[in-house]
Assembly symmetry: D3
Homo-oligomer: 117 residues x 6
């Protein structure tokens, strides 16, 4: 649950400050499994996702320095979260990552790309 | 997809005009089936639901006369849609109706009660 | 997955023989938990549900004796499956049962009532 | 909600005229975001999807000229809808499009490919 | 995500210590809306749910004093969480509450009853 | 519904014998449709999936010879089921296959690759 404004005419009433609830999914892709026959320790994945999302929860994104001057669209946020998770997971994982933000039952956006530090 | 404002401090940033996407479900309850072994003709139900929702689609609820001076919360809208469907279905159906508005993957509201004209 | 016809004008093209895929859910309601703190052994519930559904899978319901002269609407089938599960579970369970048949992402029917032998 | 027949022995009882309910999703893929940090204006996407689906709603596909002599399988319809959306979106969008038709909780088909006019 | 053991033969392999992931939903029922046309402030509901679930996250329930000598079945946990939320919400809400624990795509348990301190 | 143990410290309490419920989806990808405008006969797909899953249902995987000495993680099982379906479908289908195992509402694993005998 965050608040933000989207100051471009494209967004209609969403140009003003409003709230949004996102359900965030992270999917990790790998060509090979590790010695435990897994892509990634789901406990580690969970911890990293939590550490990336916690600083955003209940925040007004308009006031966070990393988003200054940015249009924090769902697509932009998916990319931002992808970068944050990538940086934290790059040491132990070298495949691809897809981050999906579900906005409502009928609208979502995602970013998919290789993990890099 | 509608736009509205919720002018009470309880709603935080949603006090300002903002957009919302609802997935609307209508569930009809009946103690008996009709002579066709159904609760209600699903084609008729679909038609009525469409006729009730069409005047709301893409509207700014703040500008619609029936919502003047009302806080158009999800709960309120569920009740409003219940009343509208009830009035249209009361001639041919005498059971109960539940109207559910899904706002996001994790938030919804519903109104359930007998159908009356 | 079953095939059936629904010979009443109400059903439009479904008056002719056609296929349908149902996802069947059974929900058991009880005022008290048993000595294992459960409503019903989920293994037993699963077994009973399977034993009730197996004789229907891939069948043309028009040819099954128990449905002769019946309109096998989704509502009717929910009631039929409710009766079948009830009879099998009545010895060990005395609460209520709801049987839901999901036809598609947007259409379903259910029957709910007390379990009786 | 459409009606159609699938005149090939492969389709068993679906060879005869029968009804089907599809939930249609369109997913747009792009390598870059536009100046508003979005893939596509969701309002425009919604409008185009509606304009493509409206002529099919409640129709008997067997009677529509564009489907004459065609087996209107779910796969075929996904491709057809992909072509229709592509033609309408090609001017303003140059990425890929995936069209998914959900038939029931357990069956769906999709077509994915580049958008072209 | 919790770990627990279910020491009764009914639970088969779940008699031993094992992990479980629950998705917890809380539904609040009220005959009347408040002056803001809502059942309950969703922010408050969220906060209370979080404060009740946080002490359970990643815990071995076998080691928590409140569960000593208890069979922590899904049904039991739904009731326990119901009691915890009830106590926290009773001052400001006087309707009913349903707590649902989703274990997997196909298994869930819930407890529903009036809120009391 | 299966039981298994995952004897590596990575799996925490799942190192011991425990139960798991998987919802298995198979998605078939093809560049071309066949003469019936379909990717694959869904009846055949269903039959093959059932024939691959039936020998696993309600089994303790630790006791099955094909899994001796293997860590039967969700990822491993997705790959195993992919191989089994591939072998059975390779004669009549030459595209790709994705096998997804849903463990809970929030955790799943998949294997995707070309079909080969």
């Amino acid at each position: 649950m965050i608040a933000h404004s989207l100051p471009s005419p494209t967004f209609g009433p969403a140009q003003q400050l409003h709230g949004a609830t996102y359900v965030v999914d992270a999917t990790f892709f790998s060509k090979e499994l590790d010695q435990d026959n897994i892509v990634l320790d789901i406990g580690l994945a969970h911890e990293i996702l939590k550490s990336v999302l916690d600083p955003l929860r209940y925040q007004n994104l308009d006031h966070l320095p990393q988003f200054e001057g940015k249009l924090t669209s769902t697509e932009f946020l998916a990319h931002y979260i992808h970068q944050q998770i990538s940086a934290k997971v790059a040491e132990t994982f070298s495949g691809s990552l897809k981050v999906t933000l579900g906005e409502s039952h009928v609208a979502w956006a995602a970013y998919e790309g290789p993990v890099s530090a």
